[in-house]
Point group: C2
Chain length 313, copies 2
């Protein structure tokens, strides 16, 4: 896509799961002109809890872009940096399920979203309203307005994503299944059609990115655009989450960026990987430092990614 | 009802609104043998807010009996003594209505109640479950399992109770109206039928007690039992709330315990009033200190009330 570095990107779409994708989005939002970036976010993890509509990846993306997420470390990667858990403690007294830790401020997001959805708003509209209220200027699009749950098949049976991920702490996976035939939103398809570049964030390909790609028409729309992915692996280990354990089970090979490249075959124009992980990749790669521990890390990585994308054919 | 002081009461029903009634209930629960007291609580104030079922008087009674309410003063009379307001602050950012101040722990009560009601539980069952979880041993009965909203007619139009009381801070009242024809629960009618004594707490007669009495069959059931009320007035002023302003508007006479006695005419066997407020009462009265600023105040008042009731014919 040979592009002068000095010419700014005007339309970039980034596919994202939770923390890793959200941090890359933060960097991209600073590296790109205002209005250029659209985030398309996995909602396969969405679920109902305490009678509320929870959208974990949308929340992580929104909080991160609003500079409310715990970016620079600390013990929690998810949720809000400043948070308390008084409602949760009281819910425990009432015997409510407490395996999903709602913070008090986070709870307000779930309440506000649930009310707005019950009042008839689409998830796309409600997300725009909540993110706008928090001062986010990047457009955040849920992949779909309809429920499209990701199901994880394990020895313990088939679990909805959050049950598998949070409640049961990622027991070994036999297969990933996607329930129903929900369509992507028209906003998502239009954004992809208009994109000069699609970025696949350093999210888990099986449970964060595939849920987006599997929606009717999305993979084809992505494949028509220049695509660069950022690897979520560093030296064969996942920066966060159970990806390294999932690759052998689902792809039948050791975890590596080469395996990741094969997973996305037919889609990628280039792959951004950790320095040292570029060996044996069958496609153009940028080897750099990919771990985003700070806003500056993510800004630098985003800039390098955009420059790399501009050099691709 | 001539009763030896040494013989314990076995079945006492107390009608209650919010703070005043709840504090008397606390005293009665300590003065009576375990299992003897049943609270019948006004639900005319119940409303939906943030998509949650809020029952202000049930909550005040439950928190007070669970020793979680701010009993001994402080700036708040309602809610939980130890409370934070993080979710509320976040809801403000989302532009949610914030005239009703949900605390974070209080919010858990609303969430737990709302979920249990949506799952098909009756308000009676749900109240028993929540109160039980907080260690309350007194039986708390909502007056009805169906919505029976109290409406306040004012110069600004007809307002649901909480809108009038909290949001608009009690503009002058033209009339009180009760919506619909909800029945009391069978539990309430049975408790009244079996009661050796009915206590009317020091709650606002128009908007806390009348909503209970107006339910089909309740006034008649109460009238068949010995009844003692505690006046919510001290020297013609209300201990809390807008009662003193309401009496001239609704009864056409100055606020006084005599006016209160006339309001409950046909029901009362005796009235407990503040010392000095007993003049001109047309029924047996106990003059004592009625303001409950502490658990000891309420325990003493409850004991005096029970002894007084035992002397009534």
């Amino acid at each position: 896509m040979k592009r002068e570095k000095s010419r700014p990107w005007r339309r970039v779409v980034a596919l994202s799961g939770g923390v890793g994708g959200a941090r890359l989005l933060h960097g991209l939002s600073r590296a790109l002109p205002e209005g250029a970036l659209t985030a398309v976010v996995n909602t396969g993890d969405d679920f109902e809890h305490w009678g509320l509509h929870i959208a974990p990846d949308l929340d992580t993306v929104m909080y991160t872009l609003a500079d409310l997420a715990p970016f620079d470390g600390g013990e929690r990667g998810w949720g809000l940096a400043v948070e308390s858990f008084e409602a949760l403690a009281m819910m425990r007294r009432y015997g409510a399920e407490d395996w999903f830790s709602h913070g008090d401020r986070d709870l307000a997001t779930h309440l506000a979203r649930t009310r707005a959805l019950r009042a008839g708003g689409s998830l796309t509209d409600v997300t725009a309203r909540l993110a706008g209220a928090l001062g986010v200027r990047t457009r955040i699009l849920p992949m779909s307005d309809a429920p499209c749950p990701t199901l994880v098949e394990t020895d313990r049976g088939t679990l909805p994503f959050q049950q598998w991920f949070v409640r049961h702490r990622c027991p070994p996976v036999r297969a990933i299944r996607f329930d129903g035939a929900a369509p992507p939103t028209a906003h998502v398809l239009r954004a992809l059609d208009e994109a000069e570049l699609v970025v696949i964030g350093p999210s888990n390909p099986y449970v964060s990115i595939d849920p987006i790609l599997r929606l009717s028409g999305v993979r084809e729309a992505v494949a028509r655009r220049p695509v660069v992915a950022v690897s979520p692996l560093v030296g064969g280990k996942a920066v966060k989450g159970p990806l390294a354990e999932m690759i052998p089970l689902l792809a039948g090979e050791p975890p590596s960026t080469a395996a990741l490249g094969r997973h996305y075959r037919g889609l990628l124009g280039g792959l951004v990987v950790e320095r040292g992980d570029e060996a044996g990749l069958p496609l153009p790669a940028l080897a750099t430092s990919t771990v985003m521990r700070s806003r500056d890390d993510s800004r630098r990585l985003a800039g390098e990614l955009l420059d790399f994308a501009a050099t691709l054919p």
